[in-house]
Structure formats: C-alpha cells, structure tokens
C-alpha cells in the first residue's frame, strides 16, 4: 500500500488504518493473553508496590521516626514525592482538556493514557499527605464535615486544607473526565466481547451507550463542558500546592513566583512522564502507528517551552534573592548552590535546564531512544527540584543553631520505590483492562492528513460499512 498523504498535513495515524483496524489494534491487547514482557514488567512493579506497602505499614505502625526527618526538617521525601506526583498528573489534564479546547488533534492518540497517568499519579500523590501525618488514622480531620466535636471546624487559613480541596477536586474531575471519555470505547468493547462477564461489566460501565446521534451529541457536549471544567484545574492545583510553601515564612519557600513556576514545572515533568510511558507502551504494545514520531516530537516541543519557563523561574528566583537585600533569602539560595546539598541543586539544573536544550535539534527530538533518555533525566531533575525547594530550604533557615542535615531512611526510600510500584502496576493493569488509545477519538482524526481521492475504493467501502455499523464511528 502506498503512503497517500496530503502535502500540507502529515497524517496523525500512520499505516493507512481503516476504522476496523483501529478497533482491532486497540482492543487486541485486551483480548490476547499478555506477553512475557508484560508479565516481567508486572512482576517488577508489583514487587516494588509490595515493598512500598511493607514500608508504609511498618511506618504507620511504628511512627514517623522511621523516616529520616528531624526537628529542623519536618518534610523531605514525603512532600517531595507528593509534589512530584501531583506534577506528573498535570500533563494528562493539559493534554485532555486544554489541547482538546485548542483543537490539537494529535492529542487523541495519547490523551487516554495521559489521563490514566494523571489519575494514577494523583493516587500516588494523595497517599503522601496522608501517610506523612503523625496520626494518619485521623486524616479525615482535615475535611470540614459536620461533627460532634463542638463542631470543630478545620482551619481555612491553612494551605493544607486548600490542598485537600484542590487535590480532591482534581482527582474527582480527572476521574469523571476520563470515565466519560471511556464510555464510547467501553461500548465498543461490550459489542466485541464474547465473554459474558466482560459483556456485563463493559455493558454496565458503558451506561447503555447506543451510538445514536443523540447520544453522541450529548456525549460531545458533556465532554466539552468537562474539558472546560478541567482546564482551570491545570493551573489551580499546582498553584495551591505551591502555596504550601509560598505562604510560609521560611527563606526559599516564601516566594511569590511559586504558582506560575510550579505550574510550568508540573507540565514540564508531566510531559516527560507521558513521553517515558508512551515510548515504552508504543513499543511493547506495538502502537507505533498510533503514537508516531510526530506525537513524540510535539511533546518534546512542549517540553522545550515549559523547560524554558522553568529555567526562567530558576533565574528569576536567584535574581530576586540577590536583589531583595534580604540576607536570609540570599543565603538560602547561595546555600542551595554551594552548600552541603549543592549536588542536588546541580542535578536539578543539569536535568531541567541543560538537558531539554538538546531537544532544539530535530535529529535528537525524533530519535526515540534519546528522547526517552531525556525524559528520564527530566523526571529525575523534577524530583530533585522539589527536593531542593523543600528540603534544602528547611535544613538551614533562620537560627544557625537549629541548622541540620537530612538523609532519607531505608523506609523512606522503600516508600518512594513503592509509589513508583503503585503507579506502574496501575498503569500495567490499565493497559490490560481498558483501551489505551481512545478508539472513538482516533477514528475521528483518522482521515487527518489523508487525501480522500487517493484512498483506494476498498478502503473507502470498508470505512462506510464501519461508519454505519460500528458504534464509535465518525462523529
């Protein structure tokens, strides 16, 4: 088959797929038994998860003392991981909501898994504020609910309460958005499957989808509205998370630049994580034709942009610290760069500022291996960014007599590994249980970049048949 392409637009989906090809290709991993690769990945990730579970169980039973924290450093790995995971989630919302509103059609291949990633990342993130509490069994006290204790209300001035609202909202909207997006695909699966149990389950979750025009119309409306609802969350969640630090009095935390800085960083890290996952998934699940180099390149471009913002934020922060005349502030930043944790600062700078600059070169950003490695570097760098901000600022604040150092305990390291285990396990299960690519949406962009005239009659006929019979056809 020759590659019939438009001169102006390159097709988003390669391989001259027909509608039924799409359904078949995407549903295939759900039907066949998983391969050796999947099982190996699952074994590793679930082992990591169990290690983390054991660590958290031990910590909750024994006390926060099993972490490396101390009187000076009250937050380190816990909140670093929390902010890191929240940041990861951001790419999903950005791709599914903002890119949707901006009619970025290339998003269709990656939005489903990016959204799934968002949800899993928020789950990972949400665990940390709970387990970091000295008495996690009382975590529900941060929720304002009518109670018999007075009633005792929460402190609405505390950024941690704002966090609870922000993350709660974010998780709920992301989940609903993801689920609504899944409905047409669930119906497709329901119609395809031969297993009665699966049929029941898919049937129940597809909420009686019938593929009629009216259904499609309402679906589209809801999807658009949800996208509109989710859009402000891209900005709000990380803004609020950054207020945990910005509203405090600690030098290095008390910084007004934090909200935009954190949002840019979140999108930056989120895209890096999407790239990491997509590059593996397209290879393992053979989705190269759906997640093309074009997708990878687009995401790399977003990384260049957001990486630039992050670099600007770093520089602005330094400039303001030096220019402010506040000696404590100035010291906090000099200490970051040249103090006992300078290595962490320079890891952050090299991963987040220097490494994305390589993506300016087309050769590099179209080299899947290199992009994969760079995405890993950015993930590491963004983790260190949070560590630098949170931990280094705490180690040396106002009174030199209370300065201290921090080193993670084994339990903390195991918990971090466990959070990755949870994330990967959930993602692996997701690739087995749900269509990783939005079938319905991809079909919508199938013709993008193709010139109809050049399509073979056979293909056209096939398409017409599908359009008529298969729910989830062209909208």
């Amino acid at each position: 088959m020759s590659d019939h392409t438009s001169i102006l637009r390159s097709p988003l989906i390669l391989g001259n797929k027909s509608y039924s090809d799409v359904t078949e290709d995407v549903a295939l991993p759900l039907d066949r038994s998983p391969g050796k690769e999947w099982w190996m990945a699952f074994a590793v990730s679930s082992s990591m998860l169990f290690l983390g579970l054991a660590a958290v169980t031990y910590q909750v039973l024994t006390g926060i003392g099993t972490w490396g924290l101390n009187n000076t450093v009250g937050w380190a790995f816990d909140i670093t991981n929390f902010v890191f995971w929240i940041g990861i989630g951001h790419a999903g919302t950005l791709i599914s909501a903002i890119l949707f509103l901006f009619r970025q059609k290339w998003r269709t291949s990656v939005n489903r898994s990016a959204e799934a990633m968002t949800i899993f990342a928020v789950i990972c993130a949400g665990i940390f504020p709970i387990i970091h509490m000295g008495r996690p069994w009382l975590a529900f006290w941060v929720v304002p609910y009518p109670n018999l204790r007075g009633p005792l209300w929460v402190n609405f001035r505390s950024p941690l309460v704002w966090d609870m609202f922000a993350i709660g909202t974010y998780f709920t909207i992301s989940l609903v958005f993801w689920f609504v997006g899944l409905i047409p695909d669930l119906a497709t699966l329901r119609d395809r499957t031969t297993s009665t149990i699966k049929k029941k389950l898919y049937g129940w979750f597809s909420l009686g989808w019938d593929g009629s025009n009216r259904t499609w119309l309402r679906y589209e409306t809801v999807y658009l509205l949800l996208a509109g609802l989710a859009t402000p969350l891209v900005v709000s969640v990380h803004t609020i998370v950054s207020w945990d630090f910005a509203t405090s009095v600690i030098p290095g935390w008390h910084t007004t630049i934090f909200p935009p800085y954190f949002v840019a960083g979140a999108v930056f890290s989120g895209f890096a994580m999407v790239l990491t996952l997509m590059i593996i998934a397209r290879k393992v699940l053979r989705f190269e034709e759906y997640i093309t180099l074009h997708h990878i390149e687009s995401m790399a471009k977003v990384i260049i942009a957001t990486g630039g913002m992050v670099a600007l934020a770093y520089l602005t922060e330094l400039f303001v610290a030096m220019y402010s005349g506040n000696e404590y502030e100035r010291f906090a930043f000099v200490n970051r760069m040249f103090g006992p944790y300078a290595w962490a600062y320079w890891i952050m700078v090299s991963c987040n500022v220097l490494s994305p600059q390589l993506l300016w070169f087309k050769k590099i950003r179209t080299n899947v291996t290199l992009v994969f490695l760079l995405s890993l570097a950015i993930n590491v760098g963004m983790w260190f960014e949070r560590f630098v901000i949170i931990t280094i600022s705490l180690t040396r604040d106002y009174l030199p007599a209370s300065w201290d150092v921090y080193a993670p305990s084994l339990i903390e390291i195991a918990t971090l590994i466990g959070s990755f285990g949870l994330f990967l396990t959930l993602f692996l299960l997701f690739t087995r249980l749900l269509p990783m690519i939005a079938i319905g949406e991809v079909k919508g962009v199938l013709s993008y970049g193709r010139t109809k005239a050049h399509e073979s009659a056979q293909e056209r006929r096939k398409a017409v048949v599908l359009q008529e019979n298969v729910p989830g056809g062209v909208a």
Binding site: M164, L399, W403
Partner: protein, 976 residues
C-alpha cells in the same frame, strides 16, 4: 514532717498488673482528666478514693517540702513538690541563704533518681540479696572480731558535713581503738585546704564571696559550672554584673584556663594557657602585685586587682598545692581575706583529703585494714589506679558499701547496705559555717533500704531511726548554737519548715598569715607531647549520677554534645594530627601503662597542647541505656562499643605528692581509623554565614547583641540591632484585655548551665530519646540553649541563648495547621492541642525559631516505677503529635485558680515558669506584659531588651537582653 501513706493508696491494689496506658490515665486524673471522664468511665472507676484521707494530702493539690539537695556536696536548699505523695519536681528554695533559690541541672534531675528502677532494693551479701537482720549480724560479728584484734576500721566517704552525720560517725568510730574517717571526693579540692593549713593554720575551704568581688581572676576554676558550689557562685557573680546603677555594676572577670569552660565562656577576658604555665603565671602575678617585675599582661591584671583591693578575688581550680599557696599569697596581698574570702566561717562543701586517701591505700597494701566502709564515693572507678584498689579491697575481711547501685566499688564489697535516696531519708548538712540545712523525706522508701546513719547507729549498738538520731544530734550540737532564745521543739519545727536554720558559726581559728615558701622562680617547662586535662562536666560531675538518663541527655553547655565523653582538641591541633570531630583517637600515657580510645571533638578556645577529657563516664550500670530510645529498624543503642555510656578516663589521673592530679603531661595521641558519631545538638556554631558560602561579606545574623561596658555606660541601648518597624497592613488580630504573658531572658546573666532545660523536662514530662535519636536531631527538650561562638577582631565570645517557644502574637505555626491544633489564647499563649493534632509537622517547618518538637515514636514509658515521676498536671503526649513550650500553662492555671479564690488577679511573684524558678542566675523573667508593674514589663522597657527575628512580623513575646562585656581596653583582647 511528712509521713507518706498516700503512696500506697494512690494506685489500685493490683498496681503491678496495671498496664502503662491505664497508669497514665490515672496519673492524668486532674482537671484535664475530669473533662475526659465521659469517654473514660470504665477506667476511672479504678481510681479508688481514700478511705481515710491523710491530713496533708488533697488530691490534685501539690504540697511543698523544704529540703536539701544532695546531688553534689554543695547542699543547695530545695523545695520538693509532692503530688498525692509522690515527689515530682525539685525547685530552689528562695529563702536558703546559700543557694538563694537556684538549683542546678543535677539538682533538678535528682527527682528521677528516686524512682530509678535499678536502684538496689535491699541489702546484698556476697552478691546475693539478703535481709537486714543477716547483714547486721554479719557486720556485728566481724566488727566484734576486729575490735578484739585491734584491726583498723576505716570509713571512706565523700564530704559529710551534717551535724547528725558527724554525730553518728563519731559514735561509730569511738567504738574502735583504731578507727578513722577518711573524706575523699573524686573531684578533689584537697590542695585548697592543704594550702590554707600552711598559710592560715587551718585546713579549711574558705567561702568565696563572688557577690562581693568586683575583679575576679580565675585560674582554671569553673566556678559557674562545676567548682565547689556553682549555684551559690552563679547567683553572687550575676548580682555583681547586674548593670544596675550609675555607673553600672559590672565586675571584671578574667579567666585563665587551658580549655573552654562554662565560666570561661562568660569571662570578659580569657587567657588561654597550657596547664604547665599556670604556676609561672601565678608567680608572675604575685611578683607584679608585690612590685616586682612581671610581663605586661600580668602587670595589667595586677593593676586591676590592686585597684579593687578587698573587692577582688583570685581563685584557682587546680589541685596543685603550689598554685594554691600562690593564690593564697595573692589574695592575702590584695586584702581579700575577710572581704571576698571568708575563712572564719568557711565552707564545708568540700573536705577531701587526698593524702588521707593515699595513706588508706598504703594501709591497705600493708594489710592493716580490717574493715572498710564506703559511702558516697566510688574509688574503684575514680582513682587513677582503681583496679589496684579493687584488688586490695578483696583482702579486707569486711568491706561494706552503702551505694544505691552496684557500682564498681560495691561490686567488690563483701556487703552492700544500700542507703536511701536523699528524698527518702532524714539527714542534714552544713554547707557553710552557720547555715545548717535539713533534709527531710518526701516519700516513704520505695525499697527495703536503710539510711546510712541508721546503719552506722545500729552497728554502734544504738537502734534508732534517723529522725531520732537527728533530733538527738541537733539537741546536742545545733540547738546550743541558736541565735534566738526559743525552745527546742519550736527551733526544730522552724528548721524543718524552712529547710535550714541560721545558727552561730562553729568558728574557725585562723592564724596570722604565714607566707608560703613558694619557689621564687618557676621556669616555664617545655611541653613534651600533649597534656590531658581531666575535667568534670556540668551535667555529670564525677559520674555519681551516671544512672540518670535526664543528665545524659542534656547537651553539654559548651560542646552541646549528649550521651558521651570525648577528647577535645583545639582546631590547630586537630589539623596538625589530621583528626576530624568524631574520629576515634587513642590516648596513651607516656609509660604506655594505660590507653584510652574515644572520639575526638574539635573545640575553639582550647590550648593547642591540651586534650581535655571529661571524667565520670564509662560507669558500670550504664549498660541499661543500650535500649533507652525507641526501638526500630535503624535504631542504634545509646551506649558505645564498650557497652557503656562513654569511657572512664580516670586512668589518666595521677597521684602526685599525695594529691590527685587532673592534668597529665606527655600524652601521646594517635588515630585509630575508626569513627564514632557524637550526638551534638548543633551542627553550626556561629551567627555568621559559613565562610565558604558568604564570600567576602559575611552576613552576621542579628541574633545576639553585644556591647562593651564602656559603650553601655554611655548609651544603655549600645549594641542594639536596628529595630524593625511594624509594617502590617492588617488590624490587630489579637486583643489582650486581661493578661498577656511574656518572657525576657537576660543573656548577660545566663551562663548556659542547663538547669532550665532539666527543670522544663521534669515539669513537662519530656521523654528521654537516647543518643541515636539525638544524633538524628530529634531531641525533645522544649527549651534548648543555643550556643554561638561570635568572633570579633580576634576575640571569640561565647554566648548562650535559651531558645523556647516565642509565643508569637502573629504565630506562623497557627495559620498553617489544617486542623487548628495550635491556636492562640486570649492571653497570648500559643497553645498546642495534642488531642487535635494529626501531625503534619507544617507548624514546625514554619516556625522560624524551630522550637517545635514532634513525637516521632511512642517513647518508651514502660517502667511503672519511673513513670511515677510524671507530673499529673501535664499530658503525656502520644506518638505522632507535635509539642512545645506551653509557658507552663498548668502553672498559670493553678495561679489563676488561686487568684480567683482570693478574688484578685495573679500576683507577679506567685507565678513562675519552671525554667524561671530554677535559674541560678535569675536570667529568666516571666509575667504579664499588660501590667506595667511586673518585672517582665520593666525588663521589656529596658534599653537592652531586643527581640530576634522581629522583622518577620511574627511579634514574639519572648525577648532577650544585650550581653555586656566589661572590656575597658579593646587592645587587651588579643589572647583568645
């Protein structure tokens, strides 16, 4: 008098089976407990009311008993707080004429000792528990035999100065033809007494009057920390530096020392010398005073001393007779005898006689001793050749130890007849001539122990209890010395009530000054190798309280290290031999007879030739602390590789000319290549930014204000940092219509002695966390003392800054707590609500002073006996909650209830926080800032007052006062 029955009724009968939780619940049965009664009904049913209520006990109300602290020989006056029959807190007795309301860290910690579960509970014979009948029979039989044979009977004790103690001792000694009482202290001041025998014809320790001294020169005497009577001296010293009046009162204090001591840290001028140079310098000073030639430094010092004739004081902490003779000659020249040195009514606090100890060992070697009684000392651990002493003890037919633990000496004794803890027994003391203090029991003995006096009386054939003995002794020897004509009963009751009685002095005949035959010229000896300086730590002294966990966990005031002793090196020496803090070094005696391996610590302010090692560590029994902290995966023990806390350094001591020498020349030092972490509570020691990070303009954080006396006399606000103006856009958030509690800490008075730290620990049920947790910087003390080295043009000042919750009016911790577990009271208190806390630690992160403490674990409180020390008015915090200084809110509440009962407001003098009450320097003042009449308001108006981090607009209610150093001539400051 107090007869304690409540102790038996306080708890349910099945006390032994009550678990930790229900104990705590019972202990917490106070007004707080009552509020919770609804939730805890089943448990509270077990709190059995008194069937017959003891007259003096009201549940929930504390009784106070005046007594005497026996934590060290200084004998400070104390008040013991009793709740439901249990002593739970020791405070200073403000009426006591010697200690005047102060108590040191050790005194504060004594209340833990009474509940020590490892204390012996009954007599031990040949290593197995026995009964008093058997013990008495055995002693009586042996003594009978010895008396018939005429063998020597020797009693070895620490300084005993109580009239009853002497009376009983004399009665016992009289029974034998050849009996002698030997007084020896591990921290001996023998040379001072011997020197006075030569120069003044009386072997006595004079009473030093720092409260009368305007110029103080101290040669190695750590009189604010460990020397003779630190509480008394601290009070006198700080009074003389009060900066009151015009011109301001401020003594001039020069410390000539080889290592940085607590006292040296306060000095206006420090002269760092090698120990071997001391004698030469004293000689030079003496020459300068007698108009002979001397170096410029000593000449200048002599001039200052001469200007203050009769108001000056030269003291020396060395146990070297020649040094002490010279000091006496200097003080005589300056006319200080009868003025700042009272030899006519001397001190009886230290009466050690090294020569007698030496003679005892000779006698033991010759096999002449038939019976040895050891009380209050531990020669096997403390003597330079303790092991030899232990071997000699084996040959003595009867060795009776009165130790309360099986210490090194008791382990070699035939029999241990454990003495009561001093809080359980009657006794008395006469710390200084004319002041006889009473020590009364505040709890019935917890074990089957017997007072030393009762034991001795029993063996003298007089079966009397301690109270009877005491009254008899008082009737004979104290009552006749009374000043006012009262009957004995009235005299006695008054004394027991007050805790002391002022009587006529015993009189100390002093002969005309006999100039000592001092060597006229002392060449400065060349220093070969290093000199080991063996010193006592403020918290550990000679190690007699090595079983006390509170004392181990107090950071040393100078090094800030807990749970260890170590070899202190000067930075130059450390660099020379390539040692870093924490490297284990091996110290070897010149003849190779003993080695000592311990971690090094680098400390400025020490002479390059000196290696300073604390005594009192490596004690038998400290194995118990191996498991003191929380147990978890990565937890490590509080003990060292030898299984003990620290190492015993007494092997480096030396008997020379019949006196114990605390300095040993010719020590070799080498690295072992191993490391041992030292649990230091500070990682950074300066107010300046680290030089590597700050570049050329080092930022000095405005935490400590320093001024010279000259500047201060001109402008009382000298040294002030610019006060930030309040720039808030918001209206006042809190109004204080009633009280507004606040605190001012006078850094000029504060010596950093850590008494407040322990006082706070005892008052507020603060757990001990162990070395490993301190290493992880998780010490729980609500009040810590920050110690900074401040460098100025060649001088290094040491400033101690007590740091506690500042109870900010705009508290950053309050806004960030998601569950309102930390809230502001209408009286300005920043209150922590433990029940509500979920433990996010956000408040601690956002505290600029980093004074919040988190319960990282459930700290072990499994020991039922030791739990009895808990203050029932203060909640014991569980794991996962934040805690911090409450300004002793329970005391505020108590005072409020009392004031309400009277129908008035709280008086300024009836409410003191625990830290304030115990401060020997009276550096802490707490009270109502709204009332302009209170002391705290006066202090707050003082030009020296300043707040730290006020620029953050947090509005702290704790403030500090400028340190003023008496430095007339800046050019003099070139020797530190």
């Amino acid at each position: 008098m107090m007869k304690n029955e409540s102790h038996n009724h306080d708890f349910p009968e099945d006390f032994g089976s009550v678990d930790r939780r229900s104990f705590l619940r019972l202990a917490g049965f106070t007004f707080a407990g009552v509020a919770l009664a609804g939730c805890e009904q089943t448990r509270i049913d077990k709190a059995i009311p008194y069937l017959i209520k003891p007259e003096e006990i009201t549940p929930g109300k504390a009784s106070w008993y005046a007594s005497t602290c026996r934590g060290c020989p200084a004998g400070c006056g104390i008040l013991v707080k009793n709740r439901e029959g249990r002593p739970i807190k020791i405070e200073g007795n403000p009426d006591n004429p010697v200690s005047r309301g102060g108590v040191c860290a050790i005194g504060q910690a004594m209340v833990l000792g009474v509940y020590d579960s490892m204390r012996l509970t009954g007599p031990v014979m040949n290593g197995s528990p026995s009964t008093w009948e058997n013990a008495d029979r055995a002693v009586a039989e042996t003594l009978q035999n010895l008396a018939s044979k005429g063998s020597a009977v020797r009693i070895l004790t620490g300084s005993l100065n109580g009239p009853t103690e002497k009376f009983v001792m004399d009665g016992f000694l009289r029974r034998f033809a050849n009996a002698k009482h030997i007084v020896w202290n591990a921290l001996s001041q023998s040379a001072i007494l011997d020197a006075h025998r030569q120069t003044h014809g009386t072997r006595a320790l004079p009473r030093y009057r720092f409260d009368k001294a305007d110029v103080i020169v101290s040669f190695d005497a750590d009189f604010l920390g460990t020397w003779i009577s630190p509480v008394e001296f601290t009070r006198g010293y700080t009074e003389r530096r009060s900066l009151k009046g015009t011109p301001p009162t401020c003594s001039y204090h020069v410390q000539v020392e080889s290592r940085l001591s607590l006292t040296g840290a306060k000095a206006d001028k420090r002269i760092v010398i090698a120990p071997a140079e001391r004698l030469a310098l004293l000689q030079e000073l003496h020459s300068a005073l007698t108009g002979k030639r001397a170096g410029p430094e000593m000449a200048r010092l002599a001039k200052r001393l001469q200007e203050a004739r009769g108001r000056s004081l030269v003291v020396c902490g060395s146990n070297d007779l020649h040094s002490q003779l010279l000091v006496n000659a200097i003080n005589q020249t300056l006319g200080n005898y009868g003025a700042t040195i009272d030899l006519e009514s001397p001190s009886y606090q230290h009466q050690s006689d090294d020569r007698a100890m030496h003679d005892l060992m000779e006698e033991m070697k010759e096999g002449k001793v038939g019976a040895l009684f050891v009380a209050g000392v531990n020669p096997v651990a403390d003597l330079p050749n303790g092991a030899a002493f232990a071997v000699l003890m084996k040959d003595i037919p009867l060795v009776v130890s009165f130790a309360d633990h099986v210490d090194e000496t008791a382990a070699c004794a035939t029999m241990i007849c454990p003495d009561h803890h001093f809080l359980e027994s009657w006794s008395d003391a006469e710390p200084v001539d004319g002041v006889v203090t009473v020590n009364q029991p505040v709890i019935a003995p917890l074990g089957n122990t017997r007072s030393l006096m009762e034991s001795l009386a029993m063996w003298s054939g007089r079966q009397k209890n301690a109270l009877q003995l005491m009254q008899e002794a008082w009737f004979r020897s104290v009552f006749p010395r009374r000043k006012a004509g009262v009957g004995f009963q009235e005299f006695w009751d008054r004394a027991v009530h007050d805790g002391f009685v002022n009587v006529r002095g015993q009189g100390n005949p002093v002969t005309r000054f006999n100039p000592p035959a001092v060597r006229t010229s002392v060449a400065r000896p060349g220093i070969d190798g290093f000199t080991a300086v063996l010193y006592p730590k403020v918290t550990m002294l000679d190690g007699r309280h090595a079983q006390n966990a509170w004392l181990h966990e107090i950071p040393d005031p100078v090094t800030k290290i807990t749970w260890d002793n170590y070899a202190i090196l000067s930075p130059a020496t450390a660099e020379k031999i390539g040692v870093m803090s924490g490297d284990v070094v091996r110290l070897t005696l010149p003849d190779g007879s003993a080695t000592l391996e311990l971690p090094a610590w680098i400390q400025p302010g020490q002479h390059e030739s000196v290696i300073a090692v604390a005594l009192g560590y490596g004690r038998k029994g400290t194995e118990r602390f191996a498991a003191i902290g929380p147990k978890w995966l990565q937890g490590r023990p509080s003990t060292g590789p030898n299984g003990l806390v620290g190492v015993n350094a007494s092997a480096l001591l030396q008997f020379e000319n019949g006196a114990v020498k605390y300095e040993r020349n010719g020590i070799k030092i080498e690295k072992t290549g191993r490391r041992s972490d030292l649990a230091c509570t500070q990682t950074y020691h300066s107010v300046d930014s680290p030089p590597l990070l700050a570049g050329e303009q080092r930022h000095r954080r405005p935490l400590v204000q320093l001024a010279s006396l000259e500047e201060f006399a001109k402008d009382p606000s000298a040294g002030s940092h610019p006060k930030p103006e309040s720039r808030s856009l918001w209206p006042e958030e809190h109004r204080y219509d009633g009280y507004h509690w606040g605190m001012v800490i006078d850094l000029n008075a504060c010596t950093g002695c850590a008494a407040c730290v322990v006082s706070c620990q005892a008052e507020n049920n603060i757990p001990v966390v162990g070395k490993d947790e301190v290493l992880r910087n998780r010490e729980m003390h609500w009040l810590r003392i920050d110690r900074y080295f401040i460098e100025n043009e060649g001088t290094t000042d040491v400033v101690h800054q007590p740091m506690l919750c500042h109870h900010c009016d705009n508290a950053p911790c309050e806004t960030v707590c998601p569950v309102q577990a930390t809230v502001h009271s209408s009286e300005g208190l920043n209150q922590q609500v433990y029940n509500r806390c979920v433990g996010t630690r956000y408040c601690a992160n956002n505290c600029p002073y980093k004074i919040r403490r988190f319960n990282w674990f459930d700290y072990p409180r499994d020991n039922e006996k030791e739990n009895m020390v808990l203050n029932p008015d203060v909640t014991v915090r569980s794991r996962g909650v934040m805690e911090k200084c409450s300004f002793c809110v329970q005391r505020i509440q108590e005072a409020r209830i009392e004031a309400k009962r009277r129908g008035t407001t709280i008086r300024d003098d009836e409410l003191k926080t625990a830290c304030e009450q115990s401060c020997p320097a009276q550096a802490i003042v707490f009270g109502d800032l709204n009332n302009p009449e209170t002391r705290v308001s006066m202090f707050a108006k003082d030009p020296r007052q300043y707040q730290i981090l006020a620029e953050l607009e947090v509005r702290p209610t704790v403030s500090y006062m400028t340190v003023v150093k008496n430095r007339p001539d800046a050019k003099e400051q070139d020797n530190v």
